[in-house]
């Protein structure tokens, strides 16, 4: 009971530290600017729409965040999403729930493979996930022979399109999981070890942290979350394609860095990433609705990533 009280007492402090306050101001600022260019931005239907997309990208970003906190990179999240989706999708004949379970299990396994090769095989995470980005992506195309799987009228779609009391399911899942991750990272010893591993690997090793296991855990969570985001995205588009996850690594990086996660690991909070995801979602929403055009969206996503990192690296951290 006293423990809980302490946690509750320290909550405001945690919320206010770690750039979260700055991010909140940025969010309000962006919303105000958005209001000028897009008058109907605060309509409930638009807000829910944005939050739906935010939840899907944000879930991948939370997984990426955990990997970044341990000081590694995971570029393969997009391909993990595609491959787990198509493998799960080929079990749709057995019903929606087995297909979902297999999707999640595949994502977890792919993440574990990344983690084991990086820690036990001593391959750098950058090159390993670059390789698996290409391997998993290729496998995904082979599984469906490059075709899409259409999902009309399946309970599977509910994950992406359903809602409870007007709140979309993806939003509930995203906030549920990020809350769990927040408490896991802040208040459990394993969570703290993730921070220690990223902050100073050698020191963590000397203090008895099993770095290898921590990193494998981080990569498997990243894989699992990418796989969980997949069916929600497929529910939105009503189909599973082998290129569904292409480009998700870019958004995940952008959101994580926007949320104040340190480039070299060990610093940052999940709350920041949640706000980062909302900022990212509204930014793209404003750009789309103000008629900038669809071709340029990819350009903006790429440039946004670079600009965000430049700002955080050179201005805010000083």
């Amino acid at each position: 009971m006293r423990n809980l009280k302490n946690i509750l007492r320290s909550l405001p402090n945690i919320v206010l530290s770690n750039n979260v306050f700055i991010l909140f101001i940025i969010l309000i600022f962006i919303l105000l600017i958005g209001k000028i260019f897009v008058p109907h931005i605060f309509k409930i239907i638009n807000v829910l729409n944005v939050l739906r997309i935010v939840s899907i990208i944000g879930l991948v970003a939370i997984g990426e965040t955990i990997v970044l906190l341990t000081g590694e990179f995971d570029i393969s999240v997009g391909s993990i999403m595609s491959l787990s989706l198509v493998i799960g999708g080929s079990f749709l004949g057995f019903g929606s729930i087995p297909a979902l379970l297999i999707t999640y299990l595949t994502g977890l396994t792919l993440g574990v493979i990344n983690g084991i090769a990086i820690t036990k095989g001593k391959v750098r995470s950058l090159i390993m996930t670059l390789g698996t980005l290409s391997i998993y992506g290729g496998l995904a195309s082979i599984v469906t022979r490059g075709k899409a799987i259409y999902l009309y009228g399946l309970p599977y779609l509910w994950l992406g399109r359903g809602s409870i009391f007007r709140i979309p399911i993806p939003v509930l899942i995203f906030f549920g999981i990020s809350l769990i991750c927040f408490f896991f990272l802040k208040f459990t010893s394993t969570g703290r070890y993730i921070y220690y591993t990223g902050a100073n690997e050698v020191a963590a090793w000397y203090s008895g942290v099993r770095i290898d296991n921590i990193k494998i855990l981080a990569f498997s969570l990243s894989g699992l979350f990418a796989a969980m985001a997949g069916p929600m995205f497929a529910g939105q588009t009503q189909r599973i394609t082998p290129i569904q996850g292409v480009g998700f690594e870019l958004s995940a990086f952008a959101i994580a860095f926007l949320g104040g996660i340190d480039l070299w690991g060990g610093k940052g909070s999940v709350i920041g990433v949640i706000i980062g995801a909302i900022i990212y979602g509204f930014l793209l929403n404003i750009l789309a609705l103000s008629g900038v055009g669809t071709y340029i969206e990819q350009v903006l996503k790429g440039l946004l990533l670079i600009v965000i990192v430049i700002i955080f690296q050179n201005i805010i951290r000083k």
Partner: protein
């Protein structure tokens, strides 16, 4: 098993280890493992396909190798300074499309329209070539400046650039391909064959040899190796490591520009999705060639041979009738296993 026999086994093992350590022959094999792999692949190709050794197929491989190889030479320099360039493939699409658009705007000032029938380019070859090289070089330098001066990790800079450049290419071309069928002489670089050797392969040889000589025998080479090997030591010995990092990115951009000229000259067209995934191929080649990601270690000669290896591998895959999906998987496996092999001890000795 008693203690004596255990001891004797361990003695035996250690003596075996010493023999292999001193054995010049094994050392020679370890150093030249790339050459052995290449010979093995050539034998494999000959055995699996009747057409592998035909002159036409070999020329085909040579043209592909020169595109991959020129990209990989730039990538090698980047990796030697402990960076990575994932934007080369996108740069290949963007620089040529941008060059055509710039030429179109310039020429229209003089009342000349270089594009007929909506997407056939018919004149202005020299300007296009010059601007392709200039634009690709500038993109490379921009990568370098963002990475070095704004302290953005190279992975983030070039990943962001990958998407941004492909997007820009979409914006400029509106997604339509452009054809060079009516552009006289543009296909010279990619299709001309001199004494049974494709011209572009000769260019690859020249660029490769010049690169090897510069890295090995000039101060520039030493500076690049020092920047990647030990940055602090390099700075204390008066090497402007920031400058060299930017220059190396510029060279990588230049290589992308040259490679896209060969690519488009061969296909007589350019499109937005051009050279998708070539960044993987270039990194794979460099890693097979023995350059490590830790910087400061590796030989350009290794890259030179590794490009031929990858060209042959892709050709064998194609001849076996496996499509591009399998190709992606195999290249991914090659990247990881090559890194794994070098970690496990088949290292190229550090240049002293």
């Amino acid at each position: 098993m008693n203690l004596d026999s255990k001891n004797s086994i361990s003695q035996l093992l250690s003596s075996v280890r010493e023999i292999t350590k001193e054995n010049k022959f094994l050392d020679l094999i370890k150093k030249n493992i790339i050459v052995l792999i290449l010979i093995f692949l050539l034998v494999l190709g000959t055995l699996t396909s009747g057409t592998f050794l035909s002159l036409y197929n070999l020329q085909n491989i040579a043209i592909n190798v020169s595109i991959f190889g020129i990209l990989a030479i730039g990538q090698t320099l980047v990796l030697l300074t402990k960076q990575i360039d994932l934007s080369v493939g996108a740069n290949m699409a963007f620089s040529l499309i941008a060059a055509i658009k710039i030429t179109q705007i310039l020429m229209s000032q003089f009342g000349v329209n270089i594009i007929q029938e909506a997407n056939y380019v018919n004149s202005g070859m020299l300007t296009i070539i010059v601007f392709t090289i200039v634009v690709s070089n500038l993109i490379g330098l921009l990568n370098g400046i963002i990475t070095v001066k704004a302290k953005v990790p190279p992975l983030i800079t070039t990943l962001g650039m990958l998407y941004a450049l492909r997007g820009f290419a979409y914006v400029l071309s509106k997604g339509h391909p452009l054809y060079f069928t009516y552009l006289q002489g543009f296909n010279w670089l990619g299709t001309k064959i001199l004494f049974n050797v494709p011209v572009c392969f000769l260019f690859y040889l020249v660029i490769g040899i010049v690169g090897i000589l510069i890295l090995k025998y000039t101060k520039i080479g030493t500076k690049i190796y020092a920047t990647g090997g030990n940055e602090k030591a390099a700075i204390y010995s008066g090497i402007n490591s920031d400058l060299w990092r930017i220059i190396v990115y510029g060279v990588s951009g230049f290589c992308a520009g040259f490679a896209t000229l060969i690519y488009s000259s061969r296909l007589e067209s350019v499109e937005v999705a051009q050279a998708t995934g070539y960044e993987f191929i270039s990194v794979a080649i460099v890693v097979i060639g023995g350059t490590t990601l830790e910087g400061g270690r590796g030989r350009l000669f290794g890259t030179f041979l590794a490009a031929i290896i990858l060209g042959v591998v892709i050709n064998i895959i194609t001849l076996m009738g496996l499509i591009v999906w399998y190709q992606n998987i195999i290249i991914g496996i090659i990247i990881i296993s090559a890194v794994f092999a070098y970690i496990k001890g088949i290292r190229v000795k550090k240049r002293t």
